[in-house]
C-alpha cells in the first residue's frame, strides 16, 4: 500500500514552526528566569514545567475547553480575527507551543545559569543592561544548551500524540500528523503502512539526535 506523505510533511511543518516560535518566546523567557530575582519566579517556573508532569490528554482537554468556539476566548478569537483553534493546524501550533515550552526553556535556562557569574557581573559593571548581556555575552556562550533546546523541542513535537488528538482530531491534511496516522493505520489493520510511518519517524528522530551529538562535540565558543 503506497504511503501518504501528507502526515510526514505536516509533522515536520508543525515541529519546524513550533521550534522557530519557541526560539523567539522560550529563549528570552529562559534568559529572564536565569537572571531575574523576581520573588514569584518559582510560580512561573512551575507553570512552565506543568506539561512535563501532566498527561497530554489533561493538557489537551483543558486546551480544547479553552479554545472551543463556545468558550469566551474561542468565541472572541473567532469573532475578532476569524481564528478557530480547535480542529485546525493553527490550534496544533498553539497547543504544541504550550506543551513543548519546558523543552526549550529548561536547557537554555540551565545553560545560562551554569555560566560563570563573573561574566554577567563584568558586563553590568561595564554599564550594560541585562538584555544586552544576555544576547551579546551569555547566549553566544551556551550554544550547546541552545542546540539541545532546539532539538528537544523539535523531537518532542514530532512525537506528540495525545495532545494533538485531543485538540486537532484526525483531519487529513490539516491535523493528521504522523503519530495519528500510525494509530489510524493500526486501527485499520494496515500494519505495513503503520510500519512505514514508524520507521520514518524512528529514522528521523535518530538522525536528529545523531546530528546534535556530532555538532555538540564540535561546538566551541
Amino acid at each position: 500500500m503506497p504511503i501518504d506523505w501528507d502526515p510526514i510533511w505536516l509533522t515536520l511543518r508543525l515541529a519546524g514552526i513550533t521550534t522557530l516560535l519557541l526560539l523567539l518566546i522560550g529563549v528570552p523567557l529562559a534568559g529572564w528566569l536565569a537572571l531575574s530575582r523576581f520573588r514569584l519566579k518559582p510560580i512561573v517556573e512551575a507553570i512552565i514545567s506543568l506539561p512535563l508532569v501532566l498527561p497530554p490528554s489533561v493538557v489537551g482537554f483543558y486546551l480544547l475547553l479553552t479554545f472551543s468556539p463556545t468558550s469566551w476566548l474561542g468565541a472572541w478569537l473567532l469573532r475578532t480575527i476569524n481564528l478557530q483553534l480547535v480542529f485546525s493546524f493553527e490550534g496544533l501550533v498553539v497547543a504544541s507551543l504550550i506543551y513543548s515550552l519546558p523543552f526549550m526553556v529548561h536547557p537554555v535556562q540551565a545553560g545560562v545559569e551554569n555560566l560563570p557569574t563573573s561574566w554577567r557581573e563584568a558586563s553590568y559593571t561595564l554599564g550594560q543592561s541585562p538584555t544586552k548581556t544576555l544576547w551579546r555575552v551569555l547566549l553566544p556562550n551556551c550554544k550547546p544548551a541552545l542546540l539541545t533546546g532546539i532539538v528537544l523541542t523539535f523531537a518532542h513535537t514530532i512525537g506528540e500524540f495525545g495532545l494533538v488528538l485531543m485538540i486537532g482530531g484526525n483531519l487529513p491534511g490539516q491535523t493528521r500528523v504522523a503519530s495519528i496516522a500510525i494509530y489510524d493505520e493500526v486501527e485499520l489493520l494496515h500494519f505495513e503502512t503503520a510500519h512505514a510511518y514508524a520507521v520514518l519517524l524512528l529514522g528521523l528522530s535518530f538522525a536528529i539526535l545523531l546530528l546534535v551529538y556530532a555538532i555538540n562535540k564540535r561546538v566551541t565558543v
Partner: protein
C-alpha cells in the same frame, strides 16, 4: 574623594559577624586592600561595584551618592562609574581581544580603544580569542576593558594572583603607567607584598571585616620628598646603558648597579639630574 561607610552581615572563617568598613579614598590615589583570606576584601570591592547590597551604609563618590540605605538610594552597577577587574578576568570567550575592549566603549571613543590596546601592549593579539592568551595577557585585556569607560573608580581583585614574576612585572608596569597617565582612583586587593609595595600609596589591612591598620606609604608623600616610582626600566643593548623612566623624567646610566631596580621601586632623584648621571638613592 570617595567615602565608604558600610555594614554587612557576613560569614567569616571564625563565624558569622559584621563586616564594618569606614574609609575615605583620595581622588587619584592607589590604595591596596590587604588581609588574610576571607577577611572581606573582595566583598568591599563588590559593595563598591553594587554587586552586593550592605545592610546599612553610604557610598559617596565626589558629589554623587551611589548608596544611602537611610534614603533608600542604591545605584545599580550600570549606574556607577566603575571599572572592575575580576580575579578570573571574566573576559567574554566569544569575543576577540578588541571586541572585549570595544564591548563597553562609547561609539565615539574608538581612539581610546586603540590607545588602551597600545598602552597595554596588546597590538599583536587584538584578533585573538581570550582562550589563546596567557594569564598576564588576559589580565591586561581585563584592565584595558575596565578602563574603556574612563571610570571614576577602578577596582582590581587579585590581578596578580595567577601570574608568574615576569607577567606580574609587566602588568605592574602597565598599571602604573595608566595610573600615572589618567589618575583613576584605584582600589587594589592583593596578597602579594611586592605588588602592594610597588604600586600602592596607601595600604589598608582588613581582618575579620574590620580595618586593622591604615598606612600611607607611597607616591603621595614621595612627590613631596623628591621620590618617584619607576614606571619603565630597560637595558639598551646598542647604547650599552640602562634607561629608567618615572612619571616626570627619563634617566640613563651605564652603572651596572641599576640592574637591581624594578618597575614600581621608589627612587629618590637628586634635583636637576633629569638625565645623564642621575644619582639614585
Amino acid at each position: 574623594m570617595i567615602q565608604i561607610d558600610v555594614v554587612m552581615s557576613r560569614l567569616f572563617t571564625e563565624g558569622a559577624s559584621d563586616l564594618q568598613v569606614k574609609l575615605e579614598l583620595q581622588s587619584g590615589s592607589l590604595t591596596a586592600l590587604v588581609g588574610p583570606s576571607g577577611s572581606g576584601k573582595t566583598t568591599v570591592l563588590r559593595l563598591l561595584a553594587g554587586l552586593e547590597i550592605p545592610r546599612q551604609g553610604r557610598i559617596v563618590v565626589g558629589e554623587s551618592v551611589w548608596l544611602d540605605t537611610y534614603r533608600r538610594i542604591n545605584r545599580s552597577p550600570q549606574q556607577r562609574s566603575i571599572g572592575y577587574v575580576f580575579q578570573d578576568t571574566a573576559l567574554f570567550p566569544n569575543m576577540t581581544v578588541r571586541e572585549n575592549i570595544q564591548y563597553a566603549a562609547p561609539k565615539d571613543q574608538q581612539t581610546l580603544v586603540d590607545e588602551l590596546i597600545e598602552a597595554t601592549g596588546l597590538e599583536s593579539f587584538v584578533n585573538q580569542k581570550p582562550i589563546r592568551l596567557s594569564g598576564g595577557q588576559r589580565q591586561r585585556v581585563a584592565l584595558a576593558r575596565a578602563l574603556v569607560r574612563r571610570p571614576q573608580l577602578l577596582l582590581l581583585d587579585e590581578p596578580f594572583a595567577a601570574l608568574d614574576a615576569k607577567a606580574s612585572q609587566m602588568l605592574r608596569q602597565v598599571l602604573l603607567e595608566l595610573h600615572q597617565r589618567w589618575g583613576t582612583t584605584t582600589l587594589l586587593v592583593s596578597h602579594h607584598e611586592i605588588d602592594v609595595q610597588a604600586l600602592a600609596d596607601r595600604v589598608i589591612q582588613l581582618v575579620q571585616g574590620r580595618v586593622e591598620s591604615d598606612e600611607r606609604i607611597g607616591s603621595t608623600n614621595s612627590y613631596l620628598t623628591g621620590s618617584e616610582r619607576i614606571i619603565r626600566i630597560e637595558y639598551d643593548e646598542n647604547q650599552q646603558h640602562w634607561l629608567i623612566e618615572t612619571a616626570s623624567m627619563k634617566l640613563q646610566s651605564t652603572n651596572p648597579d641599576w640592574e637591581q631596580w624594578n618597575v614600581g621601586d621608589l627612587i629618590q632623584v637628586a634635583p636637576g639630574n633629569h638625565s645623564g648621571t642621575a644619582k639614585i638613592k
